[in-house]
Subunit: 167 residues, 2 copies
C-alpha cells in the first residue's frame, strides 16, 4: 500500500513538473435547497445531505455547513499527513483528528453585526501512531500544515465570486 | 413552513439578545483515516466518507476535502438565503448553487512552494426563483453575503490551533 502510494505521489509530482498546465484543475459542487434548511448536494457521483439541527430551525437530516467545513479540515489534515509521511519516508501507522469550532451565533442571526458569522476559533488534536522521532514528527507537521489545502483556505483569504441569477 | 421558520428565527434572535451567553456554542467533528486516503467522519449521529479520486491516489469512495468545502459553501449560501429571505419577508421559491474551485496542484504536491495549496479562486452561480424586485434581491444578496458563516471563513482568516499527539 505505502509503496504503491509513494509511487503514485512521485508519478504525479513528475507529471506536474513536466507539464505544469496539467496542474491547473477545477472541482465542482452542485446543491439545491429542499424543504426547510435541507440541502441535497451532488459532487461527481457522490451525494450528500446538509441540514441544520432542529434547535436552529432544520430537520437535522445531515451535518450543517460549518460541521461540514470541520469535516473537510479534519480529512484534509489526515490525507496530507499520509501523503507527506509517505513522501518523506516517515512511519505513520494511523492518524485521526478531533476538531472543535467555536462560534457566536449572534453573528449569523444578525443580532450583533460586530460579531463574525463564522467560527472565531477552530482548535483540536491530530492523534497519530508512529515510531518516528520527535524531530521527524515536527518536520512532518510543518510540511503538512504548509501544504494542507483546507487549512490554507482558512488561513489566507480565497477570492469568491457568486453571481445571483433569477431563473 | 415559511411562517413557522419565521417564528423559529425570531425566537432564536430574541433568545440570543436576552441571553448572549447562549449564543456561544461549539460544533465538533471526529475523523479517522482508513486505508489509503479514505477517511471516515463522525458528526453527532451523522457519518460521512471522504476520499481522493483515483488519479490522486485514492479509492474515490467519497468527495475529497476541497469538494466538501465547496459543498459546505453552497449549502451555507442556500440556508442563509432561506433564513434571510424569511426574516426580511422577501419571497424565495427555490435556491440552488453551482460552485467551481480552481486549484494548481503544484501547491499541494510541494512542486512549487510559491503556489498556494488551496483554491486560488472559487466562483459560481446562485440560482433563485423569486417574484421579488431587483432591488429587494440586491438587498437580500448583501444580507446573505455578510452573514453566511462559510463565506465569512473563506474571506477572513480563522485562527486554527492543531496539537499533534502521539498515542
Amino acid at each position: 500500500m505505502s509503496e504503491s502510494l509513494a509511487n503514485t505521489i512521485a508519478a504525479v509530482q513528475d507529471k506536474l513538473r513536466l507539464t505544469p498546465d496539467s496542474a491547473r484543475v477545477s472541482f465542482q459542487s452542485s446543491s439545491r435547497l429542499q424543504s426547510g434548511f435541507r440541502s441535497e448536494v451532488s459532487i461527481r457521483q457522490h451525494a450528500l445531505v446538509v441540514d441544520e439541527p432542529t434547535a436552529l430551525g432544520g430537520s437535522d437530516s445531515g451535518p450543517n455547513p460549518i460541521e461540514m467545513l470541520l469535516a473537510a479540515l479534519g480529512a484534509c489534515q489526515e490525507i496530507t499527513y499520509r501523503a507527506y509521511a509517505t513522501a518523506m519516508h516517515i512511519p505513520l501507522d494511523s492518524v485521526a483528528v478531533r476538531l472543535t469550532g467555536d462560534i457566536d451565533l449572534r453573528g449569523f442571526f444578525g443580532v450583533n453585526d460586530a460579531i463574525r458569522a463564522g467560527f472565531h476559533k477552530i482548535h483540536g488534536e491530530v492523534h497519530i501512531t508512529s515510531s518516528a522521532s520527535a524531530a521527524e514528527l515536527a518536520r512532518l507537521k510543518a510540511a503538512v500544515d504548509s501544504h494542507c489545502p483546507v487549512l490554507d483556505m482558512l488561513s489566507t483569504p480565497v477570492p469568491v465570486t457568486l453571481a445571483l441569477i433569477t431563473d
